[in-house]
């Protein structure tokens, strides 16, 4: 087990992502952030706070549960559904940024895109992740990446966040 990112690393990565999102989108009042529970939702809140202070106005943020759209439900025991909360602004015509902790096979994001399709039709959908560990199984890439972490398929990447785990760190575990 090794530490890939420390707390200051994570904080720096999120700050950089916040800047990059604002730079990539010309009208910041059109941006909506949606985090994928559990940890993606907390990252979204942190990024939204960063962006709000940078932009000088509140960036709407919510969370999007993708459980019911997963294609791997039958491969494990049933998992609880997480709350979905869409900001009052809605997502129609907005520049929407999905936020998750780790980008791996891409299947979670595919489920996220399906789930989005039932809520509305954003102008653009972009993807921000804290870690991109590779091994994609679908044609999906992230627009904003905190850190590219080359891993073997046998390794696992654990993101711990203060809000859930009491500590900010990213670990690589051999299994």
């Amino acid at each position: 087990m090794s530490i890939a990112l420390s707390a200051p690393d994570i904080s720096r990565a999120l700050k950089r992502i916040s800047h990059e999102i604002l730079e990539a989108n010309t009208s910041s009042d059109q941006i909506v952030l949606l985090g994928i529970p559990t940890r993606g939702a907390h990252l979204a809140l942190r990024i939204a706070a960063n962006m709000s202070s940078l932009a000088g106005h509140t960036i709407p943020v919510g969370m999007l549960d993708i459980t019911m759209h997963r294609d791997d439900l039958r491969m494990r025991p049933p998992r609880p559904i997480m709350p979905t909360s869409i900001p009052d602004s809605g997502i129609q015509g907005r520049d929407l940024v999905l936020i998750d902790d780790v980008l791996f096979s891409g299947r979670t994001i595919r489920a996220g895109l399906d789930a989005l399709g039932e809520i509305g039709r954003p102008h653009t959908v972009q993807l921000a992740v804290l870690i991109d560990r590779g091994h994609r199984e679908l044609p999906i890439r992230a627009d904003f990446v905190g850190k590219n972490l080359p891993t073997s398929i046998a390794q696992s990447v654990k993101v711990h966040l203060n809000e859930v785990d009491g500590i900010d760190e990213v670990l690589i575990e051999e299994s």
């Binding site: 019911m68 039958r74 025991p77 049933p78 609880p80 559904i81 039932e118």
Partner: protein, 315 residues
């Protein structure tokens, strides 16, 4: 969890997780989203050996909103009404590849017979068996009560519920007693002594023969349907007298406490156990119960069917 046969199969955590899941899924039922892909490719059979259009439709809507394939197998005109045995029916359903059977049956315990037999492998969901249980109804009732009567907290601690009417023959009452007790509510059964089962003393409830004494001090009044066939079986002198002592009429409605609600599992006998003006009053959540039924049944299907294969022998 593989089957839902009785509320006694559930832990408090499992029951709450069904209610929480239903809360999330309610968005699907009343929002813009009409359909989720979750159970795509799964086959659910509605085996209604006893007629109940409303329960069947509710399960059907729930299954379809989760994209499952639904096969309706009703008693009327089917081989079951021609004396085919439950066993043969189950073997047929197995051959059809049913992942789950939602069964309504006039015989208490029929769902458990299906589940315990080796006649079929799918999940069995009890949609009402004889005078035994109706767990999905109890879950939707608890869901409805939680929405109206609970501020903060996710269980029903502190909620006072009166269940009124034919307890003896009511599967709704049996499931509700178990679930309400599991979730921390206090329950009072109100009925003439003839319509309370021998053995009710061991239930975790209070018993009253006097609706007027109870009605002012509860948050929920749950009325039970009086079955037509009980009328001539010496349980009470006649419908008029039953209605006078155990019916919920406008006078009794006025005795109810502030913010309390009226529930009924349907179908109602207006004018017998419940007066029309009560059923249609602002306190009545009877129509909402129906809507909540779909969300709760979606949650049940999700919990039982969405997950992967379980280890053999795990219930």
């Amino acid at each position: 969890m593989r089957h839902l046969l009785s509320i006694s199969d559930l832990t408090k955590v499992q029951a709450l997780s069904i209610l929480d899941t239903a809360t999330e899924l309610a968005r699907v039922s009343d929002g813009a989203v009409k359909k989720l892909p979750t159970l795509r490719g799964r086959t659910i059979v509605n085996l209604f050996v006893e007629d109940s259009t409303r329960t069947r439709i509710s399960f059907e809507a729930a299954a379809k909103r989760l994209s499952a394939d639904v096969i309706n197998f009703s008693a009327k005109g089917s081989s079951l009404s021609k004396g085919e045995s439950l066993k043969d029916t189950a073997l047929t359903l197995q051959a059809m590849g049913a992942d789950a059977v939602v069964i309504r049956h006039g015989a208490s315990g029929a769902p458990q017979r299906l589940a315990d037999s080796d006649w079929m492998r799918g999940s069995v969901i009890n949609a009402g068996d004889g005078t035994h249980e109706h767990p999905s109804q109890a879950l939707l009732d608890a869901f409805t009560i939680r929405k109206h009567c609970v501020k903060g907290g996710n269980d029903l601690v502190g909620v006072r519920v009166a269940i009124v009417g034919d307890i003896l023959h009511s599967r709704v009452a049996r499931s509700n007693v178990l679930l309400l007790n599991l979730l921390g509510a206090s329950v009072t059964l109100v009925a003439p002594p003839t319509l309370l089962p021998v053995g009710v003393e061991s239930w975790p409830v209070k018993i009253s023969y006097d609706l007027d004494k109870v009605i002012g001090s509860v948050d929920v009044v749950m009325m039970l349907r009086v079955q037509q066939e009980r009328m001539n079986d010496l349980f009470f002198p006649n419908a008029r007298e039953y209605s006078r002592y155990f019916g919920l009429n406008a006078d009794r409605l006025r005795l109810m406490s502030h913010n309390s609600i009226v529930m009924h599992p349907g179908p109602m006998n207006r004018g017998l156990e419940i007066a029309a003006e009560v059923a249609d009053s602002a306190r009545s959540v009877i129509v909402e119960q129906v809507a909540n039924g779909v969300s709760v049944r979606m949650a049940i299907l999700y919990v039982l069917l969405a997950g992967g294969p379980l280890e053999a022998g795990v219930k």
